[in-house]
């Protein structure tokens, strides 16, 4: 195999369970275990409910905005299922399901989108970086975390998420290049959902696939069916294993689709037709896995009940946690700028306190 062939992604996205629930052999990847797939099923049901409930809460005015990952749950969950506790996740704004599945409290996951603070969780507790709303700017940070871990002799792997639109940003390029030069243990995982708000993939890139972009940096690329949890677990699992073993950064592209609008504030009918969306509904990640598990005879009542209980629980958590108006403290505005508050900020904080006291009087 030549160097170039080593870097080239598969000719077709890796798919181990197709949209009809039919398993396929693959020369390089094996089907995950029964336990992994059943765990994945349970998480998919919970993740889908999280998306549905969060979208509903936007309509009820309980969230400022919610970029749904409906249809992309397999990508979001596979990204975290392949990590160890000590590994890091660098998510984007659309990756709430990923963040939650890492163990972050569902309400704290949504702090940014609720609008009571920019980030609600402690990044160190579950090794999840704050969600990034600028595109691809979190990728160089991921490289830094990975490089520091390597300097310290730790075998940490960093999972860095980005969308198809984000691959056009300079920071994507710089992060991949730095990671390759320093052989940093980062898995760059592109969820190609075909749209950057309204702009289709063809306007982002003329590359044969986004996974091909790795070649220019010396990073092996691979692509997977983004709605096939089994294939994603196999491909991402292998990428994490290689990164941990010192083989340097890996680039994975998942082919998926943003079934819903960019956010609740978006009107997808202005830029795409319904008949484009319909075939993707048949490729749903949950349906195909359900079909497969049923045909294997693995989806018994206990598994279904466990999955449903997890979904009911997370929906209740969101409703109960987001229904009360969040308590915000104006003093927080000045509290976290510097380790030691400057005199000028103390004066401005005092001004605001006085202003509020006068309003109350």
């Amino acid at each position: 195999m030549t160097v170039e062939e080593h870097l080239l992604p598969s000719a077709e996205p890796v798919c181990l369970i197709d949209q009809n629930g039919v398993p396929h052999d693959h020369p390089s990847y094996r089907l995950p275990t029964k336990e992994a797939l059943l765990d994945g099923y349970t998480q998919l049901i919970r993740g889908r409910r999280f998306n549905d409930q969060a979208s509903a809460l936007v309509r009820q005015g309980r969230l400022a905005v919610y970029p749904s990952s409906f249809g992309q749950e397999a990508c979001q969950l596979a990204a975290t299922m392949v990590l160890r506790d000590g590994d890091w996740l660098f998510p984007t704004y659309r990756d709430s399901v990923s963040i939650m599945s890492r163990g972050v409290d569902p309400i704290e996951t949504l702090t940014l989108l609720r609008g009571d603070w920019h980030s609600g969780y402690d990044p160190y507790e579950h090794k999840v970086a704050p969600q990034a709303t600028p595109l691809a700017t979190q990728l160089p940070h991921a490289v830094g975390v990975a490089h520091a871990a390597r300097l310290k002799g730790e075998d940490t792997v960093v999972m860095a998420l980005v969308g198809d639109g984000g691959t056009s940003e300079g920071d994507f390029h710089e992060a991949l290049n730095f990671a390759a030069v320093f052989q940093a243990p980062v898995v760059f995982f592109i969820q190609n959902n075909e749209y950057a708000i309204s702009v289709p993939l063809a306007r982002q890139s003329a590359a044969p696939s986004l996974a091909h972009k790795g070649i220019g940096y010396g990073i092996p690329g691979e692509r997977a069916d983004g709605n096939d949890l089994a294939g994603l677990l196999a491909v991402l699992g292998q990428a994490v294993k290689k990164a941990r073993a010192g083989e340097g950064p890996q680039l994975i592209e998942a082919h998926t689709y943003r079934v819903q609008a960019h956010t609740n504030a978006d009107d997808a009918s202005r830029y795409r037709q319904d008949d484009e969306v319909t075939p993707w509904l048949d490729r749903d990640p949950i349906e195909r896995l359900t079909t497969y598990l049923e045909q294997q005879g693995w989806l018994d009542d206990d598994v279904r009940a466990t999955a449903e209980a997890g979904a009911v629980e997370v929906a209740a958590q969101l409703r109960d946690g987001l229904m009360p108006e969040p308590e915000v403290d104006p003093a927080d505005l000045f509290a976290h700028l510097y380790a030691a508050e400057t005199q000028q900020l103390q004066q401005q904080a005092a001004f605001l306190r006085d202003e509020l006291a006068r309003e109350e009087a």
Binding site: D122, P134, T137, P140, V143, G144, N177, F178, Y338, Q344
Partner: protein, 328 residues
């Protein structure tokens, strides 16, 4: 350590060396900082002494350099990065403004970024286009950043040591025209705290407020003014953010007149902020409006024309002459 005569460049190099010796989480990286020792030799010998895991060259990409430093600081290191020249630091601007400055705030203090961004800045070295910018106002305008700039050899050492020990990100602006200025210094002397200005010269008649490369020019102007019978106080800010209102305002109140001297263009700048602050806080002590001597509001000129752009002793003395002495 006894008094030795060294340049600002050597003092900065020694500060990095001492910081890296004192704390093994301190790492230094950027463009040409390894074998070459930096284009200004500030990192000279560091790779040889500490190895290429502690001081290393990176690909030529400033956003990548600063972004990687953010991640390394998140993961327990104290990165010091070099932007090779002021205007070459602009590709990193988004990382600085959206992430370096905001990380503590957006995570409610859970993620702190102890990192230093070193930027050689300013004119006076005959640099061609994009090698002479004064970019401090962009950073000073950004909440969450700390911005310091030394004007003396001793402060270069002391402030850089403090900046590396600081719990928050520091933009460390190095006046490159002062890199080769030598002074007798004792590096074991007390180091200045970040956020403290210093009175470099005392005089009762008017105050010159300056920072970085403008400080020696202000001191020279004060020397000439003294010979002509006018005694000027010179305040060296050292720290643009946090701003030392107390030291600045005390000097202005004592003298009743002030001129701000800065190498950057004046419009919407650090110098305009100083004028606003002094006017708001010292109005009743002022015998004349606060004047400014700054660069013109033009792109930094080519080397053959830069002398017309930089603050000069004559311009400072003219501004002092303009402080309505006849009315007092």
């Amino acid at each position: 350590m006894t008094h030795t005569k060294i340049s600002m460049a050597q003092a900065l190099n020694q500060a990095l060396r001492d910081a890296m010796t004192a704390d093994e989480s301190v790492v230094m990286f950027g463009e040409d900082v390894g074998a070459l020792g930096g284009v200004f030799r500030i990192t000279d010998g560091l790779t040889a002494e500490f190895g290429d895991k502690r001081c290393f060259d990176t690909p030529l990409a400033e956003a990548g350099i600063v972004g990687m430093a953010v991640g390394m600081a998140m993961n327990g290191m104290r990165p010091v990065v070099e932007m090779q020249f002021d205007a070459f630091g602009y590709p990193a601007f988004e990382q600085v403004v959206s992430h370096v400055a905001k990380m503590r705030n957006r995570t409610r203090g859970r993620v702190q970024l102890p990192m230093v961004i070193r930027i050689p800045y300013g004119g006076g070295i005959g640099g061609v286009e994009h090698h002479s910018d004064s970019s401090e106002s962009y950073f000073a305008h950004t909440p969450g950043l700390t911005v310091v700039t030394p004007a003396t050899v001793a402060d270069a050492y002391g402030l850089l040591r403090k900046a590396i020990e600081f719990p928050d990100p520091v933009v460390f602006m190095e006046p490159k025209k002062l890199y080769w200025a030598k002074e007798e210094v004792d590096l074991t002397e007390l180091q200045p705290g970040i956020g403290t200005a210093v009175v470099r010269r005392d005089g009762a008649d008017a105050t010159l407020i300056a920072y970085g490369p403008a400080v020696p020019v202000a001191l020279e102007a004060a020397e000439v003014a003294a010979a002509e019978g006018r005694q000027l106080t010179v305040v060296d800010l050292r720290s643009v953010v946090p701003f030392d209102d107390e030291t600045v305002c005390a000097a202005v109140r004592r003298t009743g007149r002030a001129v701000v001297v800065a190498e950057a263009s004046g419009f919407a700048s650090v110098s305009s902020e100083i004028v606003a602050r002094v006017t708001e806080k010292c109005f009743h002590s002022l015998a004349a409006p606060v004047r400014r001597v700054t660069a013109f509001d033009i792109p930094f000129p080519p080397p053959k024309l830069e002398k017309y752009q930089l603050p000069s002793v004559d311009r400072i003395l003219d501004a002092v002459d303009d402080l309505q002495w006849e009315d007092s």
